[in-house]
Symmetry: C2
Subunit: 389 residues, 2 copies
């Protein structure tokens, strides 16, 4: 096991009606709240009215910043910073999914920074403070509600950049599984694929004796496999929503990564699909992941994949390791298909025309050639893309 | 899943040499450190010298409070509070196991409280602040290094009382698995049994849809089963010590308990053995746990025990549930025996003379008659004690 630090000071308020408890967490920080959200979905499903009602009941003054998009943009961050400064907001309340939370975090840091907030994204050591951020989570996948990370896009420079700082932890996040009842099936499925991918990226790493972490990873994967299909057929099944919601948070609050060396593989490859084509993150991961697994299967990795097949999918150990490994990979692909996710790039309207360029960009994005579980050069990445056609 | 709050803001510094990193965490809080520890073991194994050297190198001034005993006493807390006040200590550094950490936490809270610290133990709502507490962990079992709990004994009133307050979280804890290399085998084994018991107390609860938490519990139990025997035969096996150390922290940092209703059973029964006889906590739990499992096995609980047998011990599902359940319970008992732990009260010099009194005391200690997984009256507890003879 590698040395590690674990730190996750966000208070999680989990369960039905927990947005109300969030108000008590906010009160010590003042009265003036900038409420940040995305499009119209929280107006349709009633969460907007609920939160506005709670804020009014509890004596908060509220200004709103709406229109946060998927892949939140630095321009929206700047707009939020300006709103905070003009009015003197004392805290940020993010009501939404990962994009809204990410945008809110960087607004919070940008509000106490003199320069342009994009500088903070490019150089997180400049972050020396932030307004308190609170979260009402309405979509579950990115884990942003309990981690110190945000991903912000700058269309001018064509950069999509992750930023980490301990000042970016939300103070408290309300996770009410019933807020997920109205999610469209494709978003539920994408959230499941995204959660599983976050776990895969840690589970398939070269450090061998991280047993506690590996058992946690296996448990989170089994959670997705058991409860994902339930949530898809019974959108208002509370147990399914609750287990998936908590699994998504646990997948990316740092626990799965403890003591493991190396960087992620599939996110770097999927990211290029997002950058070149209008492909949703979860769908891109569902396509890339099984192809990547098949590509890196070898004498060196087969025991890991066999463990995966046995411990996650429940296949019997009395088969040779390569057979087991393939069974596990096939089961992964079939699972994504059964969830209604694409498993080939052709389903996403992606052709092979840019594979070489995308592959060359993917490698440096996450040092795939040196830091990946199985090191990948540009020609390997291009081959993985081709195998997904 | 029941509604829950999860909050664990302690920073964990895990790995070889991590005590050195702790110094950086301490620096913002001042210069004057009260170093709290137990008996002579940290002098023998070199940890005392290492920590003293680090403190000196980093410019800290140090006073020492030694002699913290197992089942730490309120008198030692008072001594620590007096030392803090007399000298103006700015923080507490606990170097030891759960007892030392627990004692340090209540010293830290008592130092900023006007009255007697026993009042804080009896009424935790009086805790409104605490000096910062830091930890160098030298024995792994109680989880105190990452939770807001302390257990303090008052010999005058014959009370052993747990106290919880969010002010009692350590700021940062250094967990270096190599600090455990010199533990006597019985302490290693007791730590494993204690960790497993903390997990059992959560795993065997009536809430049925806490799937994420149950998979975590199973993973932590499997960790103990795999690595406990390795640590006993190879005390300097880093992987074994690291996984056991992290499992002990994870077992009691609140994650296993998320979303589950009800109270613990075995700790209440084992506690009486500690109160009436000089029995170590881990040994008492090793005796009580399999007996309790057999006693509560019924049509209502058999599926849970069958899951335990399959998911933790790896028995094949193709047997009837009662057979599986018994196999799991027998395996638990055999595991404790193989670790060198007692499995009968006679091995501990405990006879049946006080069983009825002990049973009457155990029930109200944790509301066993209303809040336990399977409710237990005094006659049930006495029957469990008798079955351990």
């Amino acid at each position: 096991m590698e040395n590690f630090d674990f730190y996750a000071p966000t208070k999680i308020l989990f369960g039905r009606g927990k947005s109300a408890s969030l108000m008590g967490e906010m009160k010590p920080f003042g009265k003036r709240v900038l409420m940040v959200y995305g499009g119209g979905s929280i107006r349709k499903n009633g969460i907007y009215d609920t939160v506005k009602g709670l804020l009014a009941e509890n004596g908060f003054e509220v200004r709103e910043l709406s229109g946060v998009t998927p892949n939140p943009r630095i321009e929206k961050v700047r707009e939020g910073v300006a709103a905070v400064r003009e009015w003197g907001a004392q805290m940020i309340l993010a009501v939404g999914g990962g994009s809204t939370v990410d945008c809110s975090k960087v607004i919070a840091a940008g509000s106490v920074y003199e320069g342009d907030p994009w500088e903070l994204v490019k150089n997180p050591s400049l972050i020396q403070g932030a307004l308190p951020v609170f979260v009402v989570l309405t979509m579950s996948a990115t884990g942003s509600e309990m981690n110190p990370t945000a991903v912000i896009t700058n269309p001018e420079t064509k950069e999509k950049q992750g930023v980490h700082s301990s000042f970016l932890f939300p103070r408290a996040s309300a996770l009410d599984p019933s807020c997920l009842y109205t999610l469209p099936p494709i978003q539920t499925a994408s959230g499941v694929a995204d959660t599983m991918s976050h776990v895969f990226e840690e589970y398939f790493k070269a450090t061998e004796d991280t047993y506690v972490q590996d058992k946690l990873c296996e448990g989170l994967l089994k959670t997705c496999i058991k409860w994902g299909p339930v949530a898809l057929t019974e959108p208002e099944n509370y147990s399914a929503r609750a287990n998936l919601m908590w699994a998504a948070t646990m997948a990316l609050n740092g626990l799965c990564a403890c003591g493991k060396a190396g960087k992620w593989s599939c996110h770097a490859m999927a990211h290029q699909l997002g950058a070149w084509y209008d492909v949703t993150h979860g769908a891109a991961l569902a396509v890339i992941t099984p192809a990547w697994m098949r590509y890196i299967l070898s004498e060196d990795t087969v025991e890991r994949f066999a463990d995966y097949a046995v411990n996650v999918w429940g296949f019997s150990r009395d088969q040779d390791a390569f057979t087991l490994a393939s069974m596990g990979i096939d089961a992964t692909e079939q699972f994504f298909m059964d969830c209604g996710l694409p498993t080939h790039l052709s389903e996403l309207g992606v052709g092979e025309e840019h594979f070489d360029e995308m592959a060359r960009a993917a490698v440096p994005y996450a040092n795939l050639d040196t830091m990946a579980y199985v090191p990948l050069k540009a020609q390997d990445v291009a081959a993985i893309y081709r195998s997904c056609l």
